[in-house]
Structures are given as C-alpha cells and as structure tokens.
C-alpha cells in the first residue's frame, strides 16, 4: 500500500486541552487583579510585575538552553510564576528584588527538580519565602504602599506607634496593645473601639473587599481576584475543594480565635478578605503541580493550609501566614495522595 497509516493506542480523540491553554487562561484570570494593583499602588506596580515576569522567563530559557533541554517558556508556566511572585511582594521594593526572587523561584524552585511537573513546592511562593528570609526590610515595608487614600491601611483609624500598614499588621499591633492594657494603665483607651472599627466597620470591610488597602501588589482586591477565580471555576481549571476547604477553615478558626481576647468573636469577613488569603486559596494552593490529585486529598490539603494560616496569623511571628502554610502543605502532597486513594469502583469494605 502506498499510503502509510498512523497506528497508535486508543483513544484517538482528545478534548484539545493543553498545558499552555490552562496556564494562559489562569494568566488571563489574573489580569484584573494586576490592573487593580497598578490602580491602587501606582505605575511602579507594573514595573515590578514586568521585571518579575521577564526574569522568570529568562531564567527558565537560559537554564533549559544550558542543560540542552527543549525550551518550554511558551507553555506560559514561567510567566504565571513571575506574575504570582510579583503579586506577593510590596510595591516599595527596589526592582532587583523581583528579579532575584524570580530567578530563585525558577532556578531553585522548579528547574532543579526537573522543570514543570516535578517541583514539590509552588515556585512563586518559594521565591517569596526566599526574599522574605533574605531581605525582610524590603519585604515587610508597606508604609507607602497605598498612596491614594487618607487613612492608615485604608482603614479609618489612627493610632500612634503603628507603623506597618497592612490590615493584618494593624490588627496584630492593636491586639497586642489591647491585651497589654491591663498591665499598663491608661494606654490607648480607644483601642477597643479601634479594633472593632478595623474588623467590623462597613468602610473597613468594603475597602478590604475592593482592595483599597495596604498590602502586596496583587493580593489586596478580593473582588478582582474572585472575579478571575469565578472564571477559572467556570472553565473548570480550578476546583472548589482546595479553595473552599482553605477559606472555610480560615473562616471557622478566625471566628473562634480571631477576637480581641474572647473566643468565638472574630469577624470572619475581615480575616477572609485580609492579606493574601484569596490570592493564595484560589491561585496558589490550587497550583496543579503542587496540590493533591485525589478527592479527599484536595479537601484535606485545603483544610491543612487553613489551619496553618490561622496558626501563623494568630500566634506566629508574622502577621500573615498564607505563603508558609501553602509551602508546608505542598510537602504533604505525596502522603495525602497516598493515604486518600479513591475506593475503586465496586470495592466492598472488608
């Protein structure tokens, strides 16, 4: 026969999904939050994002060329890592910070392990953790991070001695002052009221939701992040198990432990919309490579992230714990998948 036929194993059709399509769709879903970041924090935010993306892509390409591997920057995963890293740092950093962070994220977080699909931890978060450990002075500066509004952290409160301007920072400092008032009489008599304003007032929650507060470039606007996440859920690129497990756990535990001193008095909305939780829960914890593949594994993964986040936020040394909680839970993924294999069809309990 003159014509050669293709012969291969079944199935012979696919749904035409590809890794690149998934990555670029996630990138598209992050565009609103990116625009929001530039709007809230000024044009420098755009530079931070661009430097981070370029450094990520360049690092990946150079390493792959040096290792004589096919260059796969076209799959969009390095771009996504760059964007996510930029979203988790303050607009006040010098521009070499995102460059170094992106290099670390791609080189040590991803390529060392063999590239896409083999990295045990989320590269963007690993890059951020590296920056936070190496240059904490740059990484926790948010005092100018919100040039537009009038009030500290976008929250209508004004207390002497509070320097760091993210809502979670303000909360931790206010609560420290509050719990110390019994020992130091006469200190800040209106702290009690200020905490309530911060965590429960309409203005405060509204600013948190739309993102008009101090924080990292892409993490502040719950509204824009949720819009992108809804799109991704509709496209079925992210599922409900990890984000809902994560946020649900944070909500529950924050309600229990997030009050001033009493249990069961925390304001859920404040803790859900503060910090990097929405970004982390919908875009970082759901990273396919570093999250479980099993049904129960994904739920437990989300719950684990939530527990560690609240632990760090309420009693740890940092005001925010999303980054470390996800990185720590990333390391449990192989075990979670091993322990939570689905029961095969027709398997009867013995």
């Amino acid at each position: 026969m003159e014509k050669k036929l293709f012969v291969s194993s079944s199935p012979h059709i696919t749904d035409r999904e590809s890794v690149a399509k998934i990555m670029f769709t996630v990138i598209a879903a992050l565009v609103p939050a990116g625009i929001g970041g530039v709007y809230f924090f000024g044009p420098k935010a755009l530079w931070v994002i661009l430097v981070s993306v370029l450094a990520s892509v360049a690092t990946e390409a150079v390493i792959q060329i040096l290792m004589k591997k096919p260059v796969t920057v076209g799959d969009g995963s390095a771009i996504l890592t760059g964007i996510l890293l930029a979203f988790t740092i303050s607009v006040q950093v010098p521009l070499w910070i995102p460059a170094v962070g992106a290099f670390f994220a791609i080189a040590v977080g991803k390529q060392v392990f063999g590239g896409l699909g083999f990295n045990p931890m989320n590269p963007a978060l690993l890059g951020r953790a590296f920056l936070l450990a190496s240059w904490p002075d740059y990484m926790i500066r948010f005092d100018l991070a919100r040039p537009r509004g009038g009030h500290l952290a976008g929250i209508p409160i004004n207390i002497d001695g509070i320097t760091e301007a993210t809502p979670l920072n303000v909360f931790r400092q206010l609560r420290d002052i509050y719990s110390n008032t019994t020992e130091f009489t006469g200190v800040q008599p209106d702290v009690h009221q200020q905490i309530d304003t911060l965590t429960s007032s309409y203005t405060s929650i509204k600013n948190l939701f739309i993102g008009d507060v101090g924080g990292c470039i892409g993490e502040t606007s719950a509204l824009l992040l949720l819009a992108g996440a809804a799109f991704l859920m509709y496209k079925r690129y992210i599922g409900w198990k990890i984000p809902f497990g994560y946020i649900g756990t944070v909500a529950l535990l924050s309600w229990i432990f997030g009050g001033k001193t009493d249990l069961f008095s925390g304001n859920i909305l404040f803790f859900v919309f503060s910090g990097g939780l929405i970004l982390g829960a919908f875009y970082m914890a759901t990273d396919m490579v570093t999250s479980p593949v099993t049904f129960r594994g994904r739920i437990l993964f989300g719950i684990g992230c939530g527990v560690i986040t609240v632990l760090i936020r309420q009693v740890g040394g940092y005001p925010e714990g999303v980054c470390y909680s996800i990185l720590l839970m990333n390391l449990t993924v192989p075990l979670l998948d091993r322990w939570n294999r689905p029961k095969v069809f027709g398997k009867v309990k013995k």
């Binding site: 036929l5 012979h12 059709i13 599922g239 095969v344 069809f345 398997k347």
Partner: protein, 445 residues
C-alpha cells in the same frame, strides 16, 4: 432501584457525539466481496480449529471450524465459493492470525438447513445455548466474548436481571442505533430468548437519551409483543455503555472490583448480539454478517453498511465511495476504544461495529509532555482509579505495586487520556502495565 437519583455513574466525559453523518442513513447491504478472509479467532478465548481443507466448496453459512474449547466459538463461510487458502493473514488486533480465505462463486447459495424454526421458544435451555454457540455468536459490541458462555452462569450465581445494551456511547458509531430503529422486533425477540435461557425476572434495555427515536420504537415494539421489558433512557455520558457503568446506572448495583456482572445477578448483551441470538435460535442462521458504521472525515460517503464477515476493508470502503486523499488513520470501532488498523486488507470480523476513517489532522498525536498533576484523569475515571499514578509507575518500570493499585480494574475506556492536557497516552501505559501484571501472575503460577 432509586427513583430520585439520576440513572448514571460517577466520572465519565462528554466527547462530541459526531454521529450526525450516519445516524439518519438507513442500513444498506454491501455487495458481496469477491474474496472473504475469515480469521479462526474473532472472539476472546481459544481460537477455533479449521475443519475444511483448501479447495473445498462451501455454501454461505457452512461451518468452517469447530470451537477450540468451552470459551470459543466456530466461524462460518460468509459467502459461497471455494476455500482458496488457510494461512495467517493480518487481523484487526494487529497480528497475523490463521484465516480461511474463500473466493466467491458469486451465487451466494446458503446452507439449506437455515430457515425459520417452529416453536423455537419451547426448546429446552441447553438446545438454545447450543444453537447460539453453533451460530458462532460472540459479543457484537466489540468485546467479542462468546455469548453462550455468558448465558451459562454457574449455578451459584443466580441471575435476576438481564440488560440489553443499546447505549452506543462511542462517538461516531450508529450501527446499534440503526439496528434498533430498523430491526426492533428481532432484537426484542432475541431478548425474549435470552431471558428465557437465564430465567431472569427483570429485563430492560438501556439507551442513551440522544436516541429518542430508538427509545420510542423499542417501547412500541415491546408493547406490541406484549412483553414486560423496560426501556431505560440514560443520560448521555461516556462510557455509559461499559458493562459495569450500565449496570450501576440502571440497577444501582456495583459489580465488585475484579468481579463479573453475574456477581450482582446481571447479564448484559449488546443489541446486535440479541438480534444474532434471535436469528441463531429462530432461524438457525449463523453469524455471517453484521452492521458496520463506516464514517469519519476520510471516507467519501459515510453510511451504515450490512457487510459479510470477512469483507476486506478495501471492498467495504470502495462501496462507501472510497477514501479521501488526506486519510491518516483507520480505526476499527469508535474513537475512544477502537483499534488503529495498519492495512486495508484486514477483514470485518464479528466485533467490527464501525470503521472510522480520520483525516491526517486528527490522526497525529501531539507530543507528550510531563504530567502537571491536574487531576482531570482522576476526576473522570469511571472506575475510580488514579490514572496518572498508574501511568507514572509504568513509565518508570515500577510494576510490583500496580496490582495493589487496582490496575486490572481499568476498563480502558480512554476517558483519562481524552482529558489529559499534557497529551499523555495514559491508556497506552496502563495497558502495558496490565500486561506486565498478568505476566508476573502467570510466572508466579
């Protein structure tokens, strides 16, 4: 049976049905080919043994072989003429298989014992089963398991439910659909024979609800014949027609892992098989022809063709207007579970439900890249396996724990590979893994 929950199964996918090209075209009979090639093995089980010699004159329906064991069925001459050769020939499964080649005398004289039988329903059970075996019937949905074996469950497995499989969930294929529309009476009467053999109290037909015309015709036929069978309209989801998925959708009974339908009191047969059973028992007609859907972008006139067993693809395709220039792949069966064919000289066999001709664009498989653990394969697996882990183990030659991972429960439906964004051919790896497990089992004794 639950009435509140939807009749379905967990997992599964929704590929485009692609059935429009042939679903409205009536079955037409393919002209007799000048030569037929009849492999001695067209079923799962021991190959049958030739009882004719080269040079013998045969009539249509004459026995050519005898079964090679209990799980085996004979094959018959599908045209009248002369046995030209008995030699290995290319087989749809990819290897060369001993085949009986008959050159047509163009008369198509049938074996004289074939014809309507009186009071066939009153025959005893063993005689009915014998006729089914002697007619060479093997499951016509594609799996080709000898039908008489399925209808002879051991005494400790009472069967209370018989299901006829008219789901036809494979994209492109319409042969069962057309058969249900055009031969409903034979199908239902065949069903009646099977039910009488099994002594099943419940009997029903499962049809995907994208074939409302077939559902209507079957219901009417059943009512006209005054029989108590039910027709179940099932949601469209692949692989609805897989045996275990059909059973759980209709009866809510889950066939135990590693078990068979009879473990939950069920037997399933394909609608085409039911018609063949009717013809075998009521007409003593052996299985010498079947409906084949010839379809796909690569063939000029897609249609449903009644073709004699042993018709080479070349003759069948010529009847359908020939191939387009850009043919890339020829598949026996549907696109999800069908087998890619290497030559046009391969013949139609008892399990050939379709011949799908894909054009070049759809034939090449994209380069496989690394797994990104997206879990889509886990979500769609109707057997609740973790395909990505199975495939990774096979890729790195880790076979010892595969059996514990239930690799043998894989039904090879292809849902995992269909949704894989990294284009990993998971089924390919898993099939290989199953093979290794079976090899190790054999070695261990």
């Amino acid at each position: 049976m639950g009435f509140l929950t939807k009749r379905s199964f967990s997992g599964g996918i929704h590929p485009p049905s692609s059935k429009n090209a042939t679903k409205n075209s009536a079955i037409i009979t393919c002209p007799l080919p000048s030569t037929v090639v009849i492999p001695v093995s067209q079923h799962i089980g021991a190959p049958s043994k030739p009882i004719v010699e080269v040079g013998a004159a045969v009539k249509t329906g004459d026995l050519l072989t005898e079964p090679g064991g209990f799980i085996s069925v004979p094959v018959h001459a599908s045209i009248s003429g002369t046995v030209k050769a008995i030699e290995p020939r290319p087989h749809p499964l990819g290897n060369d298989v001993l085949s009986i080649v008959i050159e047509s005398d163009e008369k198509d004289e049938w074996n004289s014992s074939i014809g309507p039988q009186k009071d066939y329903l009153q025959l005893d059970k063993q005689e009915k089963i014998r006729r089914i075996r002697d007619a060479g019937i093997a499951g016509m949905g594609g799996a080709t398991f000898p039908t008489h074996v399925k209808l002879s469950p051991p005494g400790d497995k009472p069967i209370d439910t018989f299901l006829l499989n008219g789901a036809e969930c494979e994209p492109y294929l319409t042969s069962d659909h057309r058969l249900m529309l055009e031969q409903p009476k034979k199908i239902i009467l065949g069903m009646q024979i099977i039910v009488s053999i099994l002594g099943a109290q419940n009997a029903g037909i499962g049809v995907e609800n994208n074939k409302p015309d077939a559902i209507k015709v079957l219901r009417k036929t059943i009512a006209d014949l005054g029989l108590p069978y039910k027709v179940y309209s099932l949601p469209v989801k692949y692989p609805q027609g897989a045996e275990k998925q059909l059973i759980v959708a209709v009866t809510k009974r889950a066939v135990p892992a590693g078990g068979l339908p009879m473990d939950v009191g069920c037997v399933v047969q394909n609608v085409g098989t039911a018609m063949a059973v009717y013809e075998a028992v009521a007409e003593k007609k052996p299985l010498v022809e079947r409906v084949v859907t010839v379809t796909g972008k690569g063939v000029k006139n897609p249609q449903n063709v009644l073709a004699r067993i042993g018709t080479p693809y070349s003759a069948l395709l010529e009847f359908c207007g020939g191939l387009e220039d850009n043919v890339g792949k020829i598949i026996m069966g549907g696109p999800m579970m069908g087998l890619a064919q290497a030559s046009l000289e391969i013949p139609v066999i008892k399990g050939t439900s379709g011949l799908l001709i894909l054009d070049e664009k759809f034939s090449k498989k994209p380069q496989e890249i690394t797994c990104i653990s997206c879990a889509r394969c886990v979500d769609v697996c109707p057997m609740k396996l973790v395909p990505t882990i199975l495939a990774k183990k096979v890729k790195y030659n880790i076979f010892d724990s595969l059996e514990k991972d239930n690799v043998l429960d894989c039904i090879e439906c292809g849902s995992c590979a269909y949704v894989c964004p990294s284009q990993i051919n998971l089924v390919h790896y898993i099939k290989y893994g199953k093979h290794q497990v079976m090899k190790a089992r054999k070695k261990a004794g």
